[in-house]
């Protein structure tokens, strides 16, 4: 509860800014005791972290031999050298990881702050939190878990935000020169950053779901259109790009209020697009960040509205080439544009339309929306759709200028054979260019590298005109949270292992071989009746596929949290619902107390919930933070090969038996449970390797024999299919003969026999001595 008085005359004196807030009015409904760690600070969960890190030791792969963060440096940290401040390479690498995770957490948090502030401004403190009506009683599992409070209104989120901002500040401070000295302590702080990030994402998403009427935990959220081919180019086209949905909502509202909804196409790139379609299913998603250059250059968007996060830094430049006006709306990305926030909308529109200004910074999203719509209405008919993309003749001509110097290829993150494609294109053969379109991440480095000035990315896109036109897919609008009833239904099967796993495809689009692999992996696991969850850019990539009958994956699989489901939870910040679902299994299914009880719940999730995150194109600092949040909850994350550039892995040692014992909560005895899950953070080289890993990483000590047999079945099957052999670690994963998949019995038994395998028991697993019910002989 919260009320405020601006000014009050009392006998005490004149009172200004009286501000009364009541933490909460104790209700009947929430008698849960407060657990040990409400609002945990930097070191509160350090013991849990060190427990995980003892099993999953960081393996550092320095991105550079040097540290360059202070002017004592640069310092060479090769080998066991230390820097001028005394730091060594493991600490320095983990410090960089902490820096990245802190940036990621700060980004989601600042986004959450803007959303909450804006909603408070418009709707007041009493706007209730509603993420799923009666279907969602546990409305904010992560906030409950971490903070130990139960927010009922948007106003209640302020306390959470303040806590998070304190923690981000502390985390960032820990990266200062001469602060943390130990790599494992840096890693513990990385995990803290990840947890903070999860809370921040939850705040952001439950605030926007509550305030803007996004689908509320809706398995049947509408299917919306996705792809460049879906845009009606006859209409004026607005492009919104970024992650903060506020300006997009104001655009959609403005169109609605002015009866223009059907006259203007509102299209989006990145998470703003995702969230916009949660607000209005008639908005269109173009694609992830890798579509920014190609879409801008297509000439289709008539106005660009940028908000924040994952916006190409050359957007203004690229838009200027197309004479597309740009409106910046975030103080975090002012882009060097003049601040027009104080000017009248008409005046700004006039300048943009006349080309007197190439863009404007408008830090008032209502005004920005008005300017965007009025501008697009005026410029769209007037401006020719500039042809930047070369014609077929031009492709050949441009390609003919290639000297085969290979600098393009040597600049390409994916080492694409651009010179070969150019050679072929020069002869009029575009098939290689075509193939490349699918694998290109749209970064544009090739163009900057080309000494001939060939607009390589444009050439690739020009050759792919047909493919682009065929980019007409559907994606289920972000559904938000998982319903309590869904959790109730699948909680048991997941914890027992009978649903073989929950696989979450999250993160960015820095794919090694294009986004199609994400769709293929999603279908692979949905088909095998895993629960497949998607979010953010990965949710888009998962959509970019059609089967022989023209169905997209989201049409092929149901949107509910069930075996064989394919669920898009929403944008980047919706990732909190994935962690939230795992946490809710502990709470709703297993009736564990969530409240400020992080360690116990994480231990539960780690040992029982067969969830795995896949960030196949993880690129950003946010992705680093998101992964860290999963780790602290004990959920392994697989990244694509580019993810090795995050500087370190968290790898278990399957070959070290001593690493893989747990307490049996029943007896307190230490029991060997095998290397499950084997890794906490691992980069896979190929989609095939990732698929096999995911199947394996879904195993948990708590699996029943039936469950383990199902999981082993998928693991062995995938291994045989992709690797050509039975996996060599079967003896480590089979605990009793009953674990063996029926159809593989003889093969597996042979292997077991050869390896000298012997049966061992299945405990009630925990890493925490505090969870032992009967304590005897506990170390």
């Amino acid at each position: 509860m919260h009320f405020a008085i601006k000014e009050l005359n009392t006998s005490l004196g004149k009172i200004r800014d009286l501000d009364i807030s009541i933490g909460r009015i104790e209700e009947e409904g929430w008698t849960d005791p407060v657990g040990p760690t409400p609002f945990p600070s930097l070191a509160s969960l350090r013991n849990w972290d060190l427990t995980l890190l003892q099993r999953y030791r960081p393996f550092y792969m320095p991105f550079c031999d040097l540290c360059c963060l202070c002017t004592y440096g640069k310092c060479d940290l090769t080998g066991d050298k230390r820097g001028a401040c005394g730091i060594d390479m493991p600490a320095q690498q983990s410090r960089m990881v902490l820096l990245a995770s802190s940036i990621g957490a700060a980004t989601h948090l600042s986004h959450a702050r803007e959303l909450v502030d804006r909603i408070l401004e418009r709707n007041g403190h009493q706007k209730p939190i509603d993420v799923g009506g009666h279907n969602v009683e546990v409305e904010a599992p992560i906030i409950r878990l971490v903070c130990g409070i139960r927010p009922r209104t948007i106003g209640d989120l302020e306390e959470v935000l303040e806590y998070l901002e304190t923690e981000v500040t502390q985390l960032l401070a820990a990266t200062h020169t001469g602060m943390e000295a130990n790599n494992l302590d840096f890693e513990s702080k990385v995990l803290h950053a990840g947890m903070i990030d999860q809370v921040a994402m939850e705040v952001a998403d439950i605030a926007q779901v509550s305030a803007f009427g996004f689908p509320r935990a809706d398995p049947e959220a509408p299917l919306v259109q996705l792809g460049m081919g879906t845009v009606d180019q006859k209409k004026p086209v607005i492009l919104v790009v970024g992650h903060n949905v506020l300006p997009s909502i104001d655009i959609i509202d403005y169109l609605e209020h002015n009866g223009l909804s059907s006259d203007v196409e509102v299209t989006g790139i990145c998470c703003t697009a995702t969230d916009m379609t949660r607000y209005s299913p008639s908005a269109k998603i173009i694609g992830p960040i890798s579509w920014q250059l190609r879409y801008l250059r297509s000439g289709i968007p008539d106005v660009v509205v940028m908000d924040e996060q994952c916006i190409r830094a050359d957007t203004l430049l690229e838009a200027q080439k197309m004479r597309t006006p740009v409106i910046a709306t975030s103080p975090k990305n002012c882009a060097g544009l003049p601040d027009r926030s104080g000017d009248g909308a008409e005046e700004i529109v006039a300048d943009l339309v006349a080309g007197k200004a190439s863009g404007a910074l408008i830090l008032d999203s209502v005004k920005a929306a008005q300017v965007a719509v009025q501008t697009v209405l005026e410029v769209a008919p007037e401006r020719s759709h500039f042809k930047v993309l070369p014609s077929t003749d031009m492709i050949t001509e441009k390609a003919g200028e290639c000297t085969q110097c290979k600098l393009c290829r040597r600049s390409c993150p994916n080492d694409l054979a651009i010179p070969d494609a150019m050679k072929a294109a020069a002869k009029g053969k575009f098939s290689l260019l075509n193939e490349m379109y699918d694998e290109c991440v749209g970064c544009g480095r090739c163009e900057h590298a080309c000494p001939q000035g060939i607009p390589i990315h444009s050439v690739i896109c020009a050759a792919a005109q047909k493919q682009i036109k065929e980019e007409t897919f559907t994606v289920r609008a972000g559904r938000g949270a998982i319903q309590d009833v869904e959790i109730r239904q699948v909680g048991g099967p997941i914890v027992l292992g009978e649903i073989p796993g929950v696989v979450a495809f999250v993160g960015c689009a820095n794919y090694p071989k294009g986004g199609r692999e994400v769709a293929e992996m999603c279908m692979e696991f949905a088909h095998r009746r895993y629960i497949v969850v998607t979010s953010g850019c990965a949710a888009m990539s998962a959509a970019m596929y059609r089967d022989d009958e023209g169905h997209t994956p989201y049409e092929m699989y149901p949107g509910s949290f069930e075996a064989g489901g394919l669920l898009n939870v929403g944008s980047c910040v919706s990732n909190a619902h994935i962690a939230g679902a795992a946490v809710k299994i502990a709470s709703i299914f297993a009736r564990r107390n969530l409240r400020a009880n992080y360690e116990e719940i994480a231990d539960y999730v780690y040992n029982r919930v067969g969830a795995v995150g896949v960030a196949w194109g993880a690129m950003s600092q946010k992705a680093a933070a998101i992964a860290s949040g999963f780790w602290r909850l004990g959920i392994p994350v697989v990244v694509g090969p580019h993810g090795s550039k995050y500087r370190r892995m968290l790898l278990g040692r399957a070959d070290k038996k001593e690493d893989w014992s747990v307490f049996d909560a029943r007896s307190g005895e230490r029991v060997y449970v095998g290397p499950v899950p084997e890794h906490l953070f691992v980069a896979a080289e190929t989609k095939e390797e990732a698929a096999v890993m995911v199947a394996k990483l879904c195993m948990r000590p708590n699996d029943t024999s039936k469950g383990r047999a199902i999981k082993l079945n998928h693991y062995i099957d995938l291994h045989k299919r992709y690797m050509g052999t039975l996996p060599s670690d079967i003896p480590l994963l089979v605990r009793t003969v009953a674990d063996i998949p029926l159809t593989m019995k003889s093969d597996v038994l042979n292997i077991l026999r050869e390896s000298g395998w012997s049966e061992h028991s299945i405990p009630d697993p925990t890493l925490l001595s505090s969870q032992i019910r009967e304590k005897k002989g506990v170390r």
Binding site: L66, T78, R410, H642, L651, S728
Partner: protein, 179 residues
């Protein structure tokens, strides 16, 4: 492109960079000098065309002629099996790298720590990160790459080679080993 510029332009390593193997004999000497070498075969080796064969075919020859244990990353184990070479391990690249960095690890064949790890056919940037991990944290393991591009993070690397020079080099290495 200089012969010792990183293939991916930005993959500058730092003060410590790979020595270039200028002659096949040098590679052979390194292999012969190693007590317990290991060959890590990456996923691209089954795709990269070298002459009329694939890179993997040369690697199989190398392993067989040199009696060198093999780790297959990703799904390349399947391609090795098709060539009648059973890899000693199938492991992720980062996984084998972590193992190599453990001085107490007994090696893929249980015969003790490896002192030389040879890499080929992994994506360039992944080779770099993995080699960097070994360079800093596996002081007892020397690394050598057999790709036709310069890998600064290795102990020894071939230089940036034309396809023809690469074939010649690979053949020489294999032939010399037979002697």
């Amino acid at each position: 492109m200089g012969s010792t510029d990183p293939w991916m332009i930005a993959e500058v390593a730092g003060p410590r960079r790979a020595s270039v193997i200028t002659k096949a004999e040098v590679a052979d000497a390194i292999i012969r000098r190693a007590r317990h070498p290991l060959l890590i075969v990456g996923s691209l080796s089954a795709e990269i065309e070298v002459d009329d064969r694939k890179l993997i075919d040369y690697l199989v020859l190398l392993a067989q002629k040199g009696g060198i244990p093999v780790v297959a990353t990703a799904q390349v184990g399947k391609d090795l099996l098709e060539r009648d070479l059973t890899p000693d391990r199938q492991m992720a690249a980062v996984d084998i790298a972590q193992r190599l960095a453990d001085p107490l690890w007994k090696g893929v064949d249980g015969k003790g720590p490896h002192d030389l790890a040879m890499f080929a056919g992994l994506p360039y940037y992944l080779t770099q990160t993995v080699l960097s991990g070994l360079k800093h944290f596996a002081p007892a393991v020397k690394t050598m790459t057999l790709d036709n591009v310069y890998h600064p993070q290795a102990s020894w690397s071939l230089s940036n080679l034309s396809l023809r020079d690469w074939v010649t080099t690979l053949r020489s290495i294999i032939e010399n080993l037979e002697e």
